[in-house]
Amino acid sequence: MTRPLVTTALCLRGVGAGYRGRPVVHDVTVQVPGGSWLAVLGPNGSGKSTLLKSMAGLVDSTGELLVHGRPVSTMGNRERARAIGYAPQIPALPDGLTVTDYVLLGRTPHLGPLGREGPSDLSLVAEVLTRLDLSNLAGRPLRTLSGGERQRTVLARVLAQQAGVLLLDEPTTGLDIGHAQALLELVDGLRTTEGVTVVTTLHDLTLAAQYPDQVLLLDAGEVAAVGSPSHVLTAERLARHYAANLTVLTGPDGHPVVAPVRGH
């Protein structure tokens, strides 16, 4: 894309989050510099998705949550949507919509009261589709897409929002290793070329060691560790928090490679 996106940093201080008074995540403090990538890791039920939703303002939260120095709680809905893009773990893909119809929904926070898209919205979406190699699928109904195409389409919708912070909940769900890798490369490319700040939850610990600048390990809603991947992803720590038999090797590029070890 030719137009630059605003770079925004995310700052959490003592953030707690939950549903209807039931706290799920407690006292999370982390700084995400503009243009960097934070991965939230942790076993099932540790509160990863809830933490991501709290950053998007979708669940009740306590503590201090700042986007580019501004408290999220003081932002209006549309203003927040222009600053933070969010894709859930299982996005709804309305059946009869085309890829372009769907990606255009990302322009919602930028539209006027009558919700009519202008030429600039259509040209921006065309750019996003080109950037994500989706132009040839523009008129295709969503249900005819493959898993990889769907994830790219969802990413395109979030990107069309032109938010400085992208929150992607398990963006590689259901993808084989090749497609997962391709998607993360794409996100990484956007991060470096557009300067967007990325927060993802991830299950694949080896991929989590390769792409993000820092990782945050959650266990039972508490921060177990936060720091660079090579600092956090140690065999002893992961074995303890995931209750798994595993070993951590060093890959050819120097990144940790997490390998499960069969128990006896």
Binding site: N77, Y86, L97
Partner: protein, 344 residues
Amino acid sequence: MPAAMATGTTRLSRWHVLGAALVLAGVLVSAALFGAIDLDWHRVIAEVVAQLTGGVSPLTEQESAILWQLRMPRVVLGGLVGAALACSGATFQGVFRNPLADPYLLGAAAGAGMVVTGMVVLAPHTPASFLPVAAFTGSIGGVGLTWTLGRSAGSGTAHLLLAGVAVASFLTAVQTFVQQLNTDTLQRVYGFILGGLATTGWNQVLAVLPYLVVTSIVLCACAGLLDVLALGDEEATSLGIRPGLVRALVLGAASLATAAAVSVSGLIGFVGIVVPHLIRLLFGASYRVVVPLSLVGGAVFLMVADVVARTALAPAELPIGVVTAFSGAPFFILVLRATGGRRS
């Protein structure tokens, strides 16, 4: 060099608007040709042109009265009711994300039925002209009750849907009970509820027109938000809209339109479900297209159905609800088969 525009969008083009206007005008004039007295089509067209341009009328005074005081009000009323029901149906399907949602889902029909029955039984000498007011009040009351109960249980659409089922069942049970105790009023009540478009001039058209104009504008303006709602509340919120507020606005408007339609035509099923689906199959699933074209499609569908109702067993009249189901169902199946349901 101009920037490239996104292709593959489902949006209204000028061709859609032009085509819809031509079809609507054609059906409006054609529907006015049918009736007990033959009026030649070229004389009717000449009459319409004369009225629009201030020329000399080719019709006799009696023919002119038949055309403008009997047929046209009925045809126009049919168009308005069909437009309201189809547009409301599309809205309900969008809000509840359920293809079987219809405009009567939240108790509009049951409320109207109960209040009309109560009025006929408790005040049998009430003039017939008051029944539409009773139906309108009952319709709004039924939806209001559903909304209150649904919101007290939770904020999701499922609560509202279940409250609608409960309220409709309860009100229908009360109506049936009262009806059983007063079987002598059966014909009068059902004569109204089963509906029809027998009019007494332009009064009914003018009575419902303001409601339908305002609600149609609101629903067409909010059509894009129905696409956003289809993503679910979380994603819709992350895109900066307030799903609860949008739902309240569009369901309020759709219910008002339905109540206005029920008050002048009783209950006409099928239109609110089939027309939006036909539009989806033919023109795409974005509500930016489905809502406005359902307005036109519903109007055309009900005007044609009313012609059939008036002429199939002339001089007797068929209930229009029977005609909509009879003619609509096979047509819908044909379109579904022809398109392979690829966009539904």
